[in-house]
């Protein structure tokens, strides 16, 4: 399919298109490797893959400033990678090694990184929303002009914490960018089986939060919408809500047999995959040239290999450290 960026889009350059593509490919290949490592039992626990949804994290993160904060869910490898946490540290965390970004305490669902203001990996559906409110409140009270981006699935919209948090954000005029990753399923529950109002962004409107739905399979659209939303948040200090309509191509987690949806549906959606779509469009518009893709793939393959080697070479935390990081280690004043 061919679709030039519409009027509201920022001007895209060859360099930028290649960059977006590379970011999405980094997520995709990293996660494909994770799935493989999972079957080899190198990675254990819950593993939730983001494959199919790469355009959302990529587009939003592109628009964030380095000192903005990110609050994510258990499906957060993509967010962590494009936020700039080294793939090596993420992979080592998946292995449970002490070189991992959470020293093996978090695993796949709890990636944290103070350096990039990445406030986790939260495995409680809806649990990250209040946290995002608080981070934004701290910025507001300390008169810092930063934004907190909060990612969550459409399943979270059924939780009380979603509604409480949207209300507070609007009431207190907090600089939060809510990013709903609507992939249509909460585990095996389709949206229309769990919500009376399936148009999630309208829920935000009811709290008087500026809100829009965007094609979450189109990274250029997501980036454009995120840029506009973030500009508005920075300008007004008020929250903004982006519903990104997306789809996950893989099972909810590695334990999911996907009995709740048709294989044909998944196949049809794959045809609209964000990487495929950007690639085809960029080729048609000559933004990318012969050999570009191969070069990106080779670079990414090398990065993933390095990450795996780093994780393999990583070491286990000594058992004596079991009870570390429960309370602060610095002496209390």
């Amino acid at each position: 399919m061919t679709e030039p960026p519409s009027g509201t889009h920022p001007r895209v350059s060859r360099e930028h298109v290649l960059h977006l593509l590379a970011q999405m490919i980094r997520i995709r290949r990293f996660e494909e490797k994770c799935a493989e490592l999972y079957t080899q039992e190198k990675i254990r626990g819950f593993l939730h893959l983001y494959i199919g949804e790469e355009a959302v994290a990529t587009g939003v993160m592109e628009a964030l400033a380095p000192d903005d904060a990110v609050v994510a869910t258990y499906r957060e490898h993509g967010h962590a990678i494009v936020r700039g946490i080294p793939m090596t540290k993420i992979m080592a965390e998946m292995y449970g090694k002490q070189e991992g970004c959470s020293h093996g305490r978090g695993g796949s669902m709890h990636i944290f990184d103070a350096g990039t203001r990445f406030y986790g990996g939260n495995a409680i559906v809806g649990g990250g929303l209040p946290l995002a409110i608080g981070l934004a409140l701290a910025d507001k009270m300390q008169k810092r002009r930063r934004v907190t981006a909060c990612f969550f699935g459409e399943g979270a919209a059924a939780e009380g914490e979603f509604h409480e948090s949207l209300n507070l954000a609007a009431l207190w005029k907090l600089p939060v960018l809510f990013v709903c990753e609507n992939n249509r399923y909460a585990m095996g529950t389709a949206l229309d089986r769990s919500e009376s109002e399936t148009d999630i962004h309208r829920k935000a409107e009811s709290y008087r939060i500026a809100s829009q739905a965007v094609d979450g399979m189109n990274v250029v659209d997501v980036e454009a919408a995120a840029r506009q939303a973030l500009a508005a948040v920075r300008e007004t200090g008020a929250p903004h809500f982006l519903e990104c309509r997306t789809y996950r191509f893989r099972a909810h987690s590695m334990f999911d047999a996907q009995l709740y949806r048709d294989k044909a549906e998944v196949e049809a959606m794959r045809e609209h995959g964000p990487i495929k779509r950007l690639t085809e469009w960029a080729e048609a518009t000559h933004f990318i040239h012969a050999g570009d893709l191969e070069r990106v793939e080779a670079q990414v393959a090398e990065e993933v290999d390095t990450a795996v080697a780093f994780a393999e070479a990583g070491t286990w935390e000594p058992l004596e450290t079991l009870t570390r990081h429960v309370m602060a280690e610095e002496a209390r004043p």
């Binding site: 305490r105 944290f112 990996g121 409680i124 608080g134 981070l135 701290a138 602060a328």
Partner: protein
């Protein structure tokens, strides 16, 4: 320094006020803390003094505003979150347990949550089951948080500042019956230790271990026992997590008998934990099984006589202490 007359309520208020004056990052947030002056009138007058930014009324959204306190703490503020009563804190349990208590560990030590969460606890005002429970023992079960129960005016005044300086989440349980308690307190009463239990009365025949609202009943019981020639030592735990084993065991080794007085239910309670620790650490020093006085295993009833019968009272404490002495 001279002593001044004050109430527990005023002591908590003074502590909040002082913390707000000392540190710009401190703010108070909760339901009705501002315009209304606090459900127990603790924050009366603070809105006028500090304004709406720092004395922040919240909607009835226990989970979101507790979580917002956690996020704000991670963002560099020093929030005091007030939850009206422990009963309502259950709506915020997810945030307290799954976020505040876990973030430091899950992040491998990268992020701490220096939030203080205060709430009222306890029965005795005929408010029936949904406003009268004592669930601090549940919270004391959770690694990653500190749990305080100030019983005295000095602790009500002093614990808050120490808690605010703590790099980890601190929960402060204020027994609702204590707010009206009057007494003398040093005019310059300041921060107090939050690591140690306190021996509130010395004795060498039986150790009575308690905290919060039950402290004064236990002291009364000790007084009654003294008239009977029994010298009871009374320990005020002050900190329910982490427990100060050293103070408890030192006393039990001396008296060789112990009774735990706890307004929580007996099954799976803090009293059970303390009793087990005494058995583990001081079994060979004991002359009698550890006794317990807890709430009856019923939701706290409304009718005054039933309510009184449901929670620990002086005669029950006296009797339990006597039983350890075989009298």
């Amino acid at each position: 320094m001279s002593a001044v007359e004050t109430t527990y309520r005023e002591a908590v208020r003074a502590a909040i006020r002082e913390a707000m004056l000392k540190d710009e990052r401190v703010f108070l947030m909760g339901e009705d803390v501002g315009r209304y002056g606090g459900c127990y009138a603790v924050s009366m007058g603070l809105l006028e003094e500090f304004g709406e930014e720092r004395i922040r009324d919240t909607p009835l959204s226990e989970s979101a505003f507790t979580g917002a306190g956690i996020g704000a703490a991670m963002g560099g503020m020093r929030p005091i979150v007030e939850v009206m009563t422990v009963n309502f804190s259950l709506l915020a349990l997810d945030q307290i347990m799954n976020t505040a208590a876990t973030v430091r560990h899950m992040s491998g030590g990268q992020f701490g949550v220096p939030v203080v969460i205060r709430m009222a606890t306890g029965a005795g005002k005929q408010l029936a089951a949904q406003h009268s429970h004592s669930l601090e023992g549940w919270f004391a079960h959770i690694p990653g948080i500190r749990v305080l129960a100030p019983a005295t005016l000095e602790d009500a005044r002093g614990m808050l500042w120490t808690a605010l300086e703590d790099p980890d989440p601190v929960l402060i349980f204020e027994n609702a019956l204590l707010y009206n308690m009057k007494g003398q307190m040093a005019a310059d009463a300041g921060p107090v230790d939050i690591d140690k239990a306190a021996v509130r009365r010395a004795g060498d025949q039986v150790t009575l271990i308690t905290y919060g609202g039950s402290l004064f009943k236990t002291l009364e019981a000790a007084e009654a026992l003294a008239k009977d020639g029994v010298a009871a030592e009374v320990i005020d735990l002050r900190t329910l997590r982490p427990l100060d084993d050293a103070t408890i065991m030192a006393s039990v080794r001396k008296t060789r008998r112990a009774v735990v007085v706890d307004e929580g239910w007996r099954s799976g309670s803090l009293s059970a934990e303390i009793s087990a620790r005494i058995t583990e650490q001081a079994f060979w020093d004991l002359d009698a099984p550890v006794g317990r006085v807890c709430s009856a295993e019923v939701p706290i009833p409304y009718a005054k006589h039933l309510e009184a019968a449901a929670i620990p009272q002086v005669p029950g404490i006296v009797q339990a202490a006597r039983e350890t002495l075989g009298r």
